[in-house]
């Protein structure tokens, strides 16, 4: 054992890059919500980019290391402390056996990725170490950490060293307002043209119901529907559809009032219509949004989404070059 959990934080889970291939059975991808930060944290300690890390949300855990370890924390500005001494974020540092890794208050963002050289060594379930809490699957006993839990660390490849850092310019956090680029589609035709315009014009705010399954937004005008006779099997509300699959990043609007963007622990399908999908390059940003953050949905087309995807990959390549050399 190499990590003893003294205090678990708010909802700290083991995550890697996720568990593809089982969405058709309702088992979602899971994995880090901000995969950019997860990869960067792993690079800093010399791990494979997809090694399992701890994802802490809003508040950090308090962990006692029972073996020497190389650690890095990326993503949210959640300053790490070793026996009380503050360490930089987005940088690798050493923690000695017996020392305690804790965290200062959150300064920006929402989720911090705590990578340890060697990776968090929980069992691989269906190809991944990620925690899927709703299904009690993977991670540490299928749930968030609790005080008293003990976690093993894998064998470090020895490729990391302390003092490595991701330059400020290469770190990615959402702006204010956060802008989520969105491809309209799916059941977009269900809302009136005017409502469709409002959706992209209005100032939204992250609601309190924001977790790994999805993020809810408030504050924009209610959507108005194109009238129709509801199709058989859909249910009577105009926002109902015959239950269908939900893409990751899809935006459903139950009752037409509060949009919900599904994330890594998405419910795989259901009976609410969707107006479009947040592009893959901006999914990381959602993971860093705090409740009440002002947010705009920005209308883009598929070619723009692909360019953004390419830009994100290029930024990650720069991080790789800066950290690993």
């Amino acid at each position: 054992m190499a990590i003893k959990v003294i205090a678990p934080g708010l909802a700290t889970t083991v995550q890697d890059l996720g568990r593809p291939g089982y969405y058709h059975l309702g088992i979602p991808l899971s994995g880090g919500m901000d995969r950019f930060a997860l990869r960067a944290a792993n690079m800093l300690v010399g791990n494979d980019e997809g090694a399992a890390v701890l994802e802490a949300v809003f508040m950090g855990p308090e962990l006692e290391l029972t073996a020497d370890a190389l650690v890095a924390v990326a993503g949210a500005e959640l300053p790490p402390k070793v026996d009380g001494a503050v360490q930089p974020t987005w940088s690798s540092f050493r923690v000695k056996s017996g020392q305690v890794l804790s965290f200062d208050f959150l300064k920006a963002g929402a989720r911090a990725y705590i990578a340890v050289a060697g990776g968090i060594d929980v069992s691989v379930v269906l190809g991944s170490r990620s925690t899927y809490g709703l299904g009690a699957l993977g991670g540490h006993e299928g749930r968030s950490l609790k005080a008293g839990d003990q976690l093993a660390i894998g064998r470090a490849a020895g490729a990391g060293k302390e003092g490595r850092t991701v330059p400020q310019a290469l770190r990615r956090l959402p702006g204010n307002p956060a802008e989520l680029r969105t491809v309209p589609g799916l059941y977009w035709h269900r809302v009136t043209d005017e409502s469709g315009r409002h959706f992209f014009e209005d100032a939204w705010k992250v609601a309190l119901e924001a977790d790994r399954i999805g993020y809810r937004f408030k504050g924009g005008r209610a959507l108005e529907f194109v009238p129709r006779k509801q199709p058989f099997g859909a249910g009577s509300d105009p926002s109902n559809i015959v239950d269908a699959c939900y893409p990751y990043g899809s935006i459903q609007v139950p009752g037409g009032t509060e949009p919900i963007v599904l994330h890594r622990d998405a419910v795989s399908g259901g009976g609410y219509f969707m107006v479009g999908t947040v592009i893959s390059a901006d999914m990381d940003l959602i993971g860093q949004l705090q409740p009440h953050t002002p947010t705009k949905f920005v209308k883009v087309d598929v070619p723009t989404a692909l360019t953004a995807r390419h830009d994100r990959a290029a930024l990650l390549a720069k991080v790789r070059a800066a950290v690993v050399g």
Partner: protein, 291 residues
């Protein structure tokens, strides 16, 4: 039926086979997803059939969304010629209708319901013009159901009642979803039945509970050792009403590792089914009962 294609961002294509639910739409969606699987299109990472639609997730670094869309449209032509017949299983699922656990839960969320003065099952009976709870149980368990989608949460089956449309039970979902639903609740929303595989939020009306686990992430239960999810699209389910004593006995059997679901392999033909629905269902039941 008009097939409608839409991009779900840069990583998904969503295909709606029909706006409304029918077994024809389900079969077309199933044969298209089978065709996608068999054609081994590069870059495909998830193939998800749903009731009357399906979704493909792909890696746009390996195949462009445009090319992916063209591949799917090409497959639609061959899928239309596919036979509406599948090799599947028929499974008997015991249900304790009107049980104390879903009853306690529905009472807790009464202010979120269309009709706070009656229970979900009384409400469903009334709006479907069925005499009372007893007749409702007969209507619900009288004919088999078709698993037309697995999802929402891990291993949850959506079930489509195999009777003509006039006899299909239809109910609205709760006005506002509940934050709690007992594990293994048998629910209903729109025209679809479901079994809640895990405890959690839900908006379907609650009619009863089954003692038979359908999802086991620890893979300790005998019939879930090979894979943690029991249901697959295309399975056929026959509900068997049971009382409290039979429910308790089945729960004890599950805990002792003695419970084995009653099921048989069967071939389902949509054409034969439509020729004589009641007669075909009777034959299916015969297979289940080993006749």
């Amino acid at each position: 039926m008009t097939t409608r294609y839409s991009y779900g961002g840069d990583e998904h294509i969503f295909v709606e086979v029909d706006e409304e639910m029918s077994l024809e739409a389900f079969f077309k969606s199933l044969s298209m997803t089978t065709a996608v699987r068999e054609s081994k299109i590069k870059g495909v990472t998830e193939i998800c059939p749903a009731n009357a639609s399906f979704q493909i997730k792909f890696d746009p670094d390996r195949i462009s969304p445009e090319d992916m869309l063209a591949e799917l449209k090409r497959l639609e032509v061959s899928a239309e010629k596919a036979e509406s017949s599948i090799k599947t299983r028929i499974i008997e699922i015991p249900v304790f209708y009107n049980d104390p656990w879903t009853r306690e839960t529905l009472m807790r969320f009464r202010e979120r319901h269309q009709d706070p003065k009656s229970t979900d099952i009384e409400y469903a009976a009334r709006i479907n013009n069925i005499g009372g709870v007893e007749d409702f149980v007969k209507a619900h368990s009288g004919a088999p159901w078709f698993v037309s989608m697995v999802g929402f949460v891990a291993g949850l089956p959506f079930l489509y009642q195999m009777v003509d449309r006039a006899r299909q039970i239809e109910v609205p979902k709760y006005l506002r979803p509940r934050t709690d639903t007992p594990k293994l609740t048998v629910g209903h929303g729109g025209c679809f039945g479901c079994i809640y595989s895990v405890r959690g939020a839900g908006g379907y009306q609650m009619f009863g509970i089954t003692p038979m686990p359908i999802y086991d992430p620890k893979q300790e239960i005998g019939y879930l050792k090979e894979f943690m999810v029991f249901f697959r699209p295309g399975d056929i389910v026959k509900w068997k009403p049971i009382d409290r004593a039979a429910y308790d006995a089945a729960v004890a059997d599950v805990e002792a590792g003695r419970f084995a679901p009653r099921m048989r392999d069967v071939t389902f033909s949509l054409d034969e089914f439509h020729k004589d629905i009641d007669g075909y269902n009777h034959k299916l039941e015969g297979v289940l009962n080993g006749n």
